[in-house]
């Protein structure tokens, strides 16, 4: 694992533009993903996790708009790519696995064609025999018989469809696979199989993963480092092992207390009082301050910045740590 980051996100800002208002869904976040690393983005619904993920491949849909910052992939500025360079960058460098495998495949096209067209879009000179052989190889990688290549999506179970999506994501051996809730729609047993499969493939091909899920336990198990987001900002970045054992930010701490541990003494789950702020009516100062039990006067005036936290070797944005 080299230390030069594969992808660098700097001060990334994404706005949702309304008729006469602008909501900042992602407010200047910074993080790196290193080669071969699994980086997790955790946070409540609507905190901007998926918005960040889509921005990395410039797939933000209107009315969303990347309004500032930089995304550098191996030193190249993704946000200033030409249309053709962008098309080539997508899938061959960064591919996706979406939450709902149900909807991620076109119901009226054979799955083989949906894998092959991804290959053909990047290797236009590949012959039909080559793309078909590659599709069969990918099916075998994820444990589905290549005989089923000519079936349609509805003929597969939910778990198999997600495997097909993973196979598709591997088609061009990208360096980064963005997995946006890849197992949320599946039952726990299938979930376990899929995660194990992803781990195995990751060990074999050495791609990096940006992993997004609501399941903090799963994320801690799967990821090397985790970024915790709150209301469009990164509040803490830390090694996965430290998220539960040594949380630095009060929000991370509160998240940890919302999950029941499987072993150890029982304690009362606390949850987090209140709900995340609306993006159109953000509090001044630290965005978590209205719900934070430890807020001090400066918190409601001044927004804290991410600073290194020696205790975990990560970073956190909280006035209490300074």
């Amino acid at each position: 694992m080299s230390d030069a980051p594969l992808i660098e996100v700097r001060n990334l800002t994404v706005d949702y533009v309304g008729a006469n208002s602008v909501s900042r869904a992602v407010n200047g976040i910074d993080f790196d993903i290193r080669p071969g690393e699994a980086f997790g983005l955790a946070g409540e619904s609507g905190c901007g996790k998926s918005t960040v993920a889509f921005a990395l491949a410039r797939l933000t849909r209107l009315p969303g708009l990347v309004s500032g910052g930089a995304v550098r992939f191996m030193g190249e500025d993704v946000l200033s790519f030409s249309a053709e360079r962008l098309r080539r960058y997508r899938w061959s460098e960064v591919s996706f696995v979406f939450q709902s495998a149900m909807n991620a495949l076109n119901p009226v096209i054979k799955v083989s064609e949906q894998i092959e067209d991804a290959i053909l879009a990047h290797r236009p000179r590949a012959s039909r025999a080559e793309t078909l052989a590659r599709a069969a190889e990918l099916f075998e990688l994820v444990g589905i018989s290549p005989r089923r290549l000519d079936d349609y999506p509805h003929q597969f179970s939910g778990g198999m469809r997600q495997r097909i999506c993973i196979a598709m994501a591997l088609a061009l051996e990208p360096r980064l696979i963005i997995m946006d809730e890849p197992t949320t729609a599946l039952d726990v047993v299938v979930q376990r199989d899929i995660i194990e499969q992803i781990c195995e493939l990751k060990a074999r091909f050495g791609f990096s993963v940006l992993f997004i899920t609501h399941d903090l336990g799963l994320m801690i198990e799967f990821c090397d480092r985790i970024g915790v987001m709150y209301a469009g900002e990164l509040v803490e970045v830390a090694p996965a092992s430290a998220i539960l054992t040594a949380p630095q930010h009060p929000y991370t701490r509160a998240l940890g207390r919302s999950f029941p541990p499987l072993s150890g003494p029982r304690f009362r789950l606390e949850g987090i009082a209140g709900s995340p702020p609306s993006l159109s009516a953000l509090p001044e100062g630290c965005r978590f301050s209205p719900r934070c039990g430890e807020a001090i006067p400066v918190c409601v005036r001044l927004a804290p910045e991410l600073r290194p936290t020696p205790a975990t070797g990560g970073e956190a944005a909280c006035h209490l740590l300074q």
Binding site: L59, R90, W91, A104, P107, V108, H154
Partner: protein, 327 residues
């Protein structure tokens, strides 16, 4: 296959019910056509002449006998004799008119489907762009016009004000139809205005239908994934959006093809076009029962066949229905 056989069985049943009703209704109404002829001749007929007339029009014997005779004639495409254009067989009038209508309304339907779908694809793909904001409201407006207004306007403008197109009919009066360039040109030239007047009021519906379905599909995850795969815009538009959006349009197309043989009453009357619409209207006005009955059977048949075609097409185009059929 079982699915299609079940559908086929259903359509056969529906057809039978329709032709039976078609048999019963004129007989349940007061004053059958034979009586009408007898009345118009003011009773100056001998009893054997009356019997002969009744027999000619199939009103002889018990209801059951008449029904069997009716089915027998139907099976031989014998729709009886026209009471108005006596003694022309109704079948030959019907098929003559059906040919012209099939050409006129068929061409118009194909054109408006093609134009509407293409425009729908473009306006959905660049939603809110110039093409969309310019044409969508115009097409909504055109779609709200009645065919009568458009046909009359076109007729007045292009045959009276500027005598560019012929006043009416399907071809020149003195033309002996044959497979030569002159015939084809004459027929095409005469069809321009009638076809245009149908297309103008109908392509907007295809445009709007296709546009709406496309816009809904554009939000689907598989379209976003297609974009993430780095596919070309053209491929995403045609293979991932339009391909799926065309399915409901195909169903509507099959249904409207079924009604092609209903004729285009107003257009055919305005342009004096020898199609089913004009003939049927004429038959209604002159109480030519055998023609009305025959036209009803033809329409029933074509609607049922079109429905069946839509079922078959959907099974071919939508793989999800295939396994439904198997289950």
């Amino acid at each position: 296959m079982a699915f299609l056989l079940r559908r086929l069985g259903f359509y056969f049943g529906a057809f039978f019910v329709a032709i039976t009703l078609n048999f019963l209704i004129p007989r349940l109404m007061p004053g059958d056509p034979a009586t009408r002829i007898l009345l118009s001749l003011r009773g100056k007929l001998r009893p054997d002449q009356i019997d002969a007339i009744r027999k000619t029009y199939g009103f002889e014997g018990s209801l059951w006998d008449q029904y069997l005779q009716y089915l027998w004639r139907l099976a031989h495409f014998d729709f009886g004799t026209s009471t108005v254009n006596f003694p022309e067989p109704t079948a030959s009038l019907l098929f003559y008119a059906a040919g012209w209508t099939l050409f006129l309304v068929g061409a118009a339907t194909a054109l408006s489907f093609g134009i509407g779908i293409t425009m729908g694809i473009w306006s959905a793909w660049r939603r809110g762009g110039f093409f969309d904001t310019f044409f969508t409201p115009i097409n909504v407006m055109l779609n709200a016009f009645t065919p009568a207004v458009v046909a009359l306007l076109l007729w007045y403008a292009f045959t009276m004000q500027w005598a560019i197109f012929p006043l009416g009919r399907a071809h020149e009066m003195n033309l002996t139809p044959g497979f030569n360039l002159e015939t084809v040109l004459s027929i095409a030239w005469h069809a321009v205005l009638p076809v245009a007047s149908i297309v103008i009021v109908s392509f907007g519906a295809w445009h709007l239908g296709m546009r709406n379905t496309m816009i809904n599909l554009l939000n689907e995850d598989f379209v976003l994934l297609a974009k993430a795969k780095g596919l070309s815009d053209r491929r995403i538009r045609n293979r991932y959006v339009a391909r799926n959006a065309i399915l409901p349009q195909i169903t509507s197309l099959a249904l409207s093809i079924g009604y092609v043989l209903g004729g285009a009453f107003i257009t055919e009357v305005v342009f004096n076009y020898p199609g089913l619409g004009k003939f049927t209207l004429n038959a209604i006005q002159t109480r030519d029962y055998s023609f009305i009955q025959a036209q009803l059977i033809l329409l029933t048949m074509s609607v049922l066949v079109a429905n069946l075609a839509s079922d078959v097409l959907n099974v071919i185009l939508d793989p999800r229905l295939r396994s439904l059929g198997r289950a």
